[in-house]
């Protein structure tokens, strides 16, 4: 049988101390220690008379955690039982604790119920009874593990010395027991609630003192566990109503009637309302002025370690800051797949089979990031994949929904949406990789699809269709670093422009091919509409940072200053942008609507700070000359003096370029004619040819490496 000691911190506790010590005498303790922190009543005399060892400390030395640690240090028994000076153990208390510590090999602590004394108010009596019966509805001891309630109360608790030595009480002003309960479960210990380890205990306060005590309790919870009690007026009223109803039931069950019952019900309303308010206030105590906080607090103190402006100098801490332990959660973190690649590495590709690169039909699996209607990148991918499928390749799509965009969408619906939004793909569409079957060529697309691609098996080659240099989408960040890293995993890249291919080769030493974005020539053709001579259309999608919309708007403001009569039309966003010039807004348009707009307008403006997009080509296909940025990707496709009018990233110079096309009819004609001719060969069939060649190149590289 384990040895046991009782430790009781005391200050002016003579009211119940005699009764408490008498109850302990019959329990068979090896040691009883009373720590007195400046009592001015007979507490120490009573303790000594009962045979307890007494340690006296100054009032300023007292701390809920600190003093209990002292008590544990000053004793040697294997079980350390803590009581407060107003908690009287019921018969069989220690036996119940001894039993509790046999229920599981990792029991670090145990606690029991607090029974109301006969004079306890009905509200508290009911609450105590209902609260503790909730831990063991069947009346039997209950072992609590990680994930169970962390509740633990040193009013009535027992600790295994090994567990206490490992964790010790935090030196906090309040709720050291709650903190220990959380620490204990997080550290892999268990605790036991034993209904038979009961004490008689109640804080018998008046209404005002109760509220002030709740203020202290919830302030302590905030300081130790970070808990913030929410406050919602409607919910609070409902809680008060429920509380009063519960008390009325309790009073009826206990035979309280008439005036006595009415009096208690009035008190019940005040009690529950005050509790709600002061609990919420206590959680936010650090926001109160320190003098007010001291007045409200029953302990008469201000918040610990919470500096606030205007509250005077903050006292230096006397101990190291106490971290709050957090138990692991089962939910996967946002980077789980990336973490898996780092931890377990890349899954090996299948051995190359000679001749696969030249085989007529390939098994192609494409991983897509989440999508929505109108996504240009997804359109490119699906246009190409559909054409590969039409050539006899066996294609499938695997949607990697890392954002949870399609959480409630089932695969058949995803397939239907891909067909409706982008292209008439005939193959199957899977959500996630549970049904993964392998492929000759696995195609990663957005950077977030690379990591799942690296973990999929049964593949002969992995390629990476790179639509844009995605690290440039982010400021310096984890995402930027991870996006850059995806180019270094050995996937053969097929880039959506020579400019992009060169970046991949030069900066990341990746093997790469390039393809040209196609144009839907059945939609983007010059429409039979009179071409205006005064209209500039601008793709003002301000939510896409790489579109440099602020600079585009500055250029249009400059153009308006020079030529107030030029008609400016903004499209590509549903938002009405604030500008210094008047304009017409068209919102987000369908491809057909765009082709009519391009056919009617005079000059197009479309800026991209990264890779070239579909839009300038579509404008050119409709005979609309277009201004783009020089020195970026467009120049690599169209040349410095091709069909596009190029301008540096400078509002005045962009306005110059727009003016040239508005003024110089000959230049306009040349650009328009050259544009139509130039993009005529830029078809999705041609893009599919290039991507197919890139995939076969990837397979050939693997075969060559094997030789």
């Amino acid at each position: 049988m384990k040895s046991a000691c009782a430790v009781i911190p005391v200050k002016d506790g003579e009211r119940y101390l005699d009764e408490l010590l008498a109850a302990l005498a019959g329990e068979g303790f090896d040691e009883i220690l009373v720590i007195d922190s400046g009592s001015r009543d007979r507490s120490t005399d009573l303790a000594r008379a009962a045979g307890a060892r007494v340690i006296e400390i100054g009032p300023h030395e007292f701390g809920h955690g600190r003093t209990r640690n002292l008590g544990a240090e000053q004793t040697t028994a294997e079980l350390i039982c803590f009581l407060t000076q107003d908690a009287t153990p019921c018969a069989g208390w220690l036996a119940a604790y001894r039993e509790a510590f046999t229920l599981d090999p990792r029991v670090g602590a145990a606690y029991g119920p607090h029974l109301p004394r006969p004079d306890t108010s009905p509200m508290i009596a009911r609450e105590l009874t209902e609260f503790f019966s909730g831990f063991a509805p069947d009346g039997r001891p209950r072992v609590q593990r990680a994930g169970d309630p962390t509740f633990l109360a040193n009013v009535n608790a027992a600790y295994d010395r090994g567990c206490w030595s490992e964790l010790r009480f935090r030196d906090v002003a309040y709720a050291e027991d709650q903190a220990f309960g959380a620490d204990l479960l997080a550290a892999g210990w268990t605790k036991v609630y034993h209904p038979a380890a009961a004490v008689l205990h109640a804080h018998d306060y008046g209404p005002t003192e109760f509220m002030r005590r709740y203020f202290d309790e919830y302030r302590g919870l905030r300081e130790t566990t970070g808990h913030i009690e929410s406050f919602d007026a409607v919910a609070a009223l409902a809680a008060v109503r429920d509380g009063v109803r519960g008390d009325r039931r309790w009073l009826a069950e206990h035979g309280v009637t008439g005036l006595e019952r009415a009096r208690w019900l009035g008190r019940s309303g005040v009690h529950h309302a005050g509790r709600r308010v002061f609990a919420a206030l206590g959680s936010r105590a650090s926001a109160l002025p320190a003098p007010l906080e001291r007045r409200v607090s029953l302990e008469g103190r201000a918040s610990v370690g919470s500096p606030r402006s205007g509250s005077g100098p903050v006292a230096s801490p006397t101990t190291a800051p106490q971290p709050t332990p957090v138990a692991p959660r089962s939910r996967e973190n946002d980077y789980a797949l990336i973490e898996e690649v780092w931890r377990s590495g890349t899954v090996q590709l299948l051995d190359p089979v000679p001749g696969t690169a030249d085989r007529e039909r390939l098994r192609i699996a494409m991983i897509l990031p989440p999508f929505s209607r109108g996504s240009g990148g997804h359109n490119t991918l699906m246009q190409i994949l559909t054409r590969l499928e039409q050539r006899g390749h066996i294609c499938s799509v695997w949607v990697h929904d890392f954002l949870g965009v399609h959480r409630d969408v089932w695969p058949a619906v995803l397939r239907s949406e891909l067909r409706e939004f982008f292209a008439p793909f005939e193959g199957p569409v899977y959500k996630g990789f549970d049904r993964w079957q392998g492929a000759d060529v696995l195609i990663a697309t957005g950077w977030q699809t690379v990591h799942p691609a690296l973990r999929l098996d049964q593949c002969r080659a992995r390629v990476y269709v790179v639509n844009d240099h995605e690290p440039e989408f982010y400021a310096t960040s984890t995402e930027r670093a991870l996006a850059s890293d995806t180019y270094r995993h050995g996937l053969h890249c097929i880039a959506a422009s020579p400019w992009l291919r060169d970046i991949l080769v030069e900066y990341y030493a990746a093997s790469a091919d390039a393809f040209q974005l196609g144009v839907a020539h059945d939609i983007y053709v010059p429409r039979p509409v009179r071409r205006r001579r005064d209209t500039v259309v601008y793709y003002a999608r301000h939510s896409t940072a790489r579109r440099a919309v602020p600079i585009g708007l500055m250029a249009l403001a400059e153009l308006h200053r020079r030529r107030p009569n030029v008609r400016i039309v903004l499209f590509g966003t549903q938002t009405t942008l604030d500008t210094s010039f008047p304009y017409h807004r068209l919102g987000v348009l369908t491809p057909e609507q765009l082709s009519w707009l391009y056919s009617e307008s005079t000059v197009g403006l479309c800026l991209s700070l990264t890779n070239f997009s579909l839009m300038p080509k579509e404008m050119l296909a409709c005979g609309l000359p277009c201004v783009e940025l020089s020195g970026v990707s467009a120049e690599s496709i169209f040349g410095p003096d091709g069909p596009l009018e190029l301008a540096p990233l400078n509002p005045a110079l962009i306005a110059d370029a727009l003016e040239r096309l508005l003024d110089d009819r000959e230049l306009w004609e040349r650009r328009s004619t050259d544009g139509i001719a130039f993009v005529a060969s830029h078809t999705w069939d041609h893009a599919a040819d290039e991507v197919e060649a890139g995939m076969r190149h990837a397979l050939a590289l693997r075969e060559a490496a094997a030789l």
């Binding site: 000679p354 089932w410 695969p411 058949a412 619906v413 397939r415 193959g427 199957p428």
Partner: protein
């Protein structure tokens, strides 16, 4: 040829290939041909399974759109009983139609 027949043929051929011994060059050629044949079988099987899944997805679109899992639905209490009642009603309907046809003829 069914998918099962393709696999069965492949197994038989593999056993034959493994048991035949001859000129190393022709042996190599034969093994290459065999690999190509197996690859072709795999492609054919993939094409068929892809088509089957795609067809099933096209057919179950509305069920998936409305998040209806018929297997789950039929596991609910009363579902089987409801199905039996519906079958009985259909059976009665058929009998009535059959009787009508007889009376007309």
């Amino acid at each position: 040829m069914t998918a099962g027949e393709i696999v069965e043929t492949a197994d038989v051929e593999a056993v034959r290939a493994a048991t035949q011994v001859g000129d190393p060059r022709s042996e190599l050629e034969r093994l290459r041909d065999r690999v190509a044949e197996l690859e072709a079988n795999l492609v054919e099987l993939s094409a068929r399974s892809n088509a089957a899944v795609a067809e099933a997805q096209a057919q179950t679109y509305w069920l998936e759109r409305w998040h209806v899992d018929l297997n789950e639905l039929m596991r609910r209490p009363g579902a089987e009983e409801l199905r039996i009642v519906l079958r009985a009603v259909r059976s009665v309907g058929r009998s009535v139609r059959r009787l009508k046809r007889r009376l007309r003829s």
